[in-house]
């Protein structure tokens, strides 16, 4: 067994932190882009597209993220598509994120009262113009708090990339623990790292939610 000081452990974890961060940011941005496209389709007037996106969202919300990772990493490789753990994790988390933000954003758009659509319509605006100039500006205000809140789920989700062998925070911690069996210290510090990433975002999401409640009538 190797002896590690607290500082050694923390140093290793902090260096691994950037991979967790990188994966989180890419998944969140990528998921946001794909999610925007999905939201667009979901709220379109083409029944087949709506149905397709509903199925997609149901699938990703109704199955474990770990299974999605396994399918993309091991499953595709059995079909001859070999992805690195990094690529597989990025793809899986992006798809996972897109399904959830699509659901949040669709809900926000549907929360806009029908009167707003009608008012725009009688002023001569098309569906697209109404969406862009009337609905989106209001929907964004509703969506922002839950979207920030969901970013916490994305960060926590990246921990599962450790299972397919991507060396981010959690995998670094398990490797450290294998070498220097100090589970309380190592996993305690690991938890602390995640907490420091997630808690401010959670607080921010709650603050946004409160602020919206106060100014909601405007």
């Amino acid at each position: 067994m190797i002896d590690f000081t607290l500082w050694d452990i923390l140093g290793h974890l902090l260096r691994a932190l950037r991979w967790t961060l990188a994966l989180s940011i890419i998944a969140f941005v990528g998921g946001g882009l794909v999610g925007a496209l999905l939201t667009w389709w979901r709220t379109s007037q083409i029944k087949a597209l709506q149905l397709l996106v509903r199925g997609y969202v149901e699938l990703f919300q109704g199955t474990p993220l770990l299974m999605q990772l396994f399918l993309i990493f091991f499953g595709l490789s059995a079909l001859g598509i070999n992805l690195s753990a990094w690529t597989a994790a990025t793809i899986a988390l992006t798809l996972f994120t897109s399904a959830f933000v699509c659901d949040i954003w669709r809900g926000s758009i549907e929360a806009i009262p029908a009167g707003q659509w009608q008012a725009a319509r009688v002023l001569g605006m098309s569906r697209l113009q109404t969406l862009r100039h009337v609905v989106l500006g209001q929907a964004v205000r509703i969506a922002i708090a839950p979207t920030v809140g969901f970013s916490v789920q994305v960060i926590k989700g990246t921990a599962l990339a450790s299972v397919i062998g991507f060396t981010e925070l959690t995998r670094t911690a398990t490797m450290l623990n294998n070498a220097a069996f100090m589970p309380f210290t190592i996993f305690g510090l690991l938890a602390l790292c995640y907490f420091c990433l997630c808690y401010p975002l959670s607080r921010y999401a709650r603050y946004l939610e409160k602020r919206l409640d106060v100014h909601g009538s405007r």
């Binding site: 009262p113 009167g115 707003q116 009608q118 008012a119 725009a120 319509r121 009688v122 002023l123 001569g124 605006m125 098309s126 113009q129 100039h133 009337v134 500006g137 209001q138 205000r141 009538s217 405007r218």
Partner: protein, 242 residues
């Protein structure tokens, strides 16, 4: 040529037949008040006139243009018909001035420079010249409804439809909105209003249309219809509103 021409209009929601053969002519510059009990189909008739609801059969012509389902786009329609809602429906995330300017800019592609003077003049004419940069949420209900009128007028419609536009207002705010309508009437705008303000209908309106169970039950010159109702249903209705 009539400004509004409705022939044998039918409309159902599922099994509920709401409009049962409406015939209506409205001349340019007329102020027509539609009265009747709740559920008699007044809103539905108005919403058919600008295709917020699509009618089942019959025909509607506005300013000589026939409305047939999707035949006329929202954009074309807005050149002819404007509408004010009971619940104002201002866009809450845009300032008052932007509410008025949005449709001309987005729908007609006019430049901000071209629209702004007109928007300011319209707001001035409804008595809200100084509210150009206010948020809708900062205004009283009466002020919001006047902004909604200015917003509708910005598209220069030939006909303005008003569906109980003072019903959501506190009593002391009703007058300021009615005064704006009266000015429009004097200026020759064609107005079709669903209203409970019998005094307004009598003094300002040129004609009153009484709807009962999906049909036009009685109509005629405003003073005549209100002062001397012919049918028992209208008599009963007028008695209940006193």
């Amino acid at each position: 040529m009539s400004m509004v021409r409705v022939d044998a209009l039918y409309k159902s929601f599922g099994a509920n037949q709401v409009l049962k053969g409406i015939d209506l002519r409205i001349q340019e510059g007329e102020v027509v008040s539609i009265i009747g009990r709740s559920g008699s189909g007044k809103s539905t008739l108005l919403r058919c006139l600008n295709q917020l609801e699509l009618h089942d059969s019959g025909s509607i012509e506005i300013n000589g243009k026939r409305l047939d389902g999707e035949a006329m786009s929202a954009r074309q329609l807005s050149e002819h018909v404007g509408m004010i809602f009971q619940s104002f429906n201002l866009f809450p995330h845009r300032r008052v001035g932007e509410n008025v300017m949005l449709a001309p800019m987005v729908v007609r592609g006019e430049s901000r420079e071209a629209v702004e003077p007109r928007a300011r003049a319209l707001l001035e004419s409804v008595g809200l010249g100084e509210k150009f940069d206010a948020w809708p949420g900062q205004l009283s209900g009466g002020q919001q409804q006047r902004v909604a009128i200015a917003r509708a007028l910005a598209m220069a419609p030939k006909v303005l439809l008003c569906d109980e536009i003072t019903s959501a207002l506190d009593p002391e705010l009703v007058g300021e909105v009615l005064r704006v309508l009266e000015k429009l009437a004097v200026d020759g705008m064609t107005l079709v209003l669903v209203t409970h303000e019998m005094r307004f209908a009598r003094e300002v309106g040129s004609r009153v249309v009484f709807m009962h169970q999906g049909k036009i039950h009685e109509q005629g010159d405003a003073k005549r219809v209100l002062d001397d109702p012919q049918t028992p249903e209208l008599k009963q209705f007028l008695a209940s509103t006193r």
